[in-house]
Amino acid sequence: MNHAPENHYDALVVGGGIAGLQAALDLAEQGFRVAVVEEDASVGGKMIRLSKVFPTLDCASCITTPKMAAAAHHPRISLLTYSRLAGLERAGGGFAARIERKARFVDEDQCIGCRQCEYACPVLLPDADQGGFAARKAIYIPFGNAIPQVALREEENCTFCGKCEKVCPTGAVDLLQQPQEISLTAEAVVLATGFRLMTDYPNRAYGPAARQPNLITSLQMERLLAPHGPYMRVLRPSDGKEPDSVAFIQCAGSRDLNLGVPYCSRVCCMYAIKQAMLLSGALPLADLTVYYLDIRAFGKNYEQFFQNAKAMGVEFVKAKPVVVGSTAEGAVRLRYEDQEGGGGGQEREHDLVVMSLAVLPAAELDPTGLGVGLGADGFLGSVSPKLAPPLTDQEGVFAAGTALGPKDIVDTIVEAGAAASQAAAYLAARRAAGRAAA
């Protein structure tokens, strides 16, 4: 894998989720040289953290790792992880980028991914990559199939005991490592900065009732369901008990004008159904309920997937519940109006409740600072939504995946291919023009 970047690329891809990786691979296969800048310590984005994926139910890791590895081993792709785009300017018809490589405190070229440092580290912290349900160390490799398999040290919680430095067999730990700034130039930019979830939804919607351990987010549920998840099985966070009843609250933040998100988040119906199906395998006796407004199973084979879930006994209730409290046994109490049950408020308790949170634009949507236009929904804007969705209003800047609005993996991968196609055509036209001028 190439850790040391060159200083010129044909294309710079911002974001190393599945959209960024696919765009990079498609561009590299056209003969272009590509740098991928990823803020996180590993590429893979949200997808590598999912359990299994609808509608095929194949394991997310099994289908993400090949793409991650293909990008990592590609001779024309450089992956710059744990790096952020600090600035971008137009220069000579192309772009000049400043990239900040955050300090890992571990030398990427020397680390062999053996985790000796991790075993030696005495500090225990909640592991965000496991939904916060498991612990990790202050120096650690992000997760089993992270790429690169290189450790990083988190500065805030490190006690500077120096154990990691001592055990590292290659002397890769460098407690004094400084962030590095590197400059590179590129002729086209692909923005694939992805999405984030509306994690403040429970507080905004439920107030103090939101603070209870068995009310979890959909991404946390993905971790509970993952075969290599925190408990290796589905347990309730508060007491480690197997839940007897699990409920999903759909449109938690989406399609809600009051919360400023009028749009549909597009993936939550399907992943809630998926999670319910996976739960019915893991907990065959549990009652599973999906509270929904409309079931939007619109993709290829999605409707059939939904009908299967119904046939398997997953209960679908047309309602938008509010979390009102908890029981002494730790169950989450919901209040709702069953739209099909003749109206009237009802209350029900579930051992575990999953919020299908709204999909929001990435924190830093336009990391280029060029002023790329945004859509009314806050995601990056397209100037040709009908014929070429990846085109932004900035020449040479393309976008793909959830950076352009919520979408599932298939639609993300397809759109990333489209972004690569348009960027490739742009690069080819520039070259032809350059040759003509010369």
Binding site: S61, G144, P227, H228
Partner: protein
Amino acid sequence: MHATAQQPKVLILASEACAYPGANAVGQAHQAYSDHAYILRAPSPALFPPQFYLDCLDQGFAGIIIMSCGVECPYEGAYQVLAQRVDQAYQLMKTRGLDLRRLRLTAICTVCNRAFLNEVNQMTRLADEIGPARDAETAQAA
């Protein structure tokens, strides 16, 4: 015979796309299993003729686990063929009076750590219990 001098061995034929990386995931998690289980990778275990499994047993392996990708097999249709071949192998084993538990067809994915360990532990336990096929046979023939 020399094979009796050691613990009986188990052979695992793992598909390159799923089960082999799955075994590596078990390694990354440092989850121990018997060191008498040996893993060989193959593009698809459908390439082995039924007789191959019997030859392995004759070589002294006490058990064989075929770890395929199952229905997620990258070669469309190969899993069905594999299942047929394994059936044929069972027929051959029956005619030879071999314990059918010595051969097992499973599907293991890249992160099926628990399933992997279950399969390996069961087979190595069985191997310890009934020993290499060759010895069993020799005993029968004698």
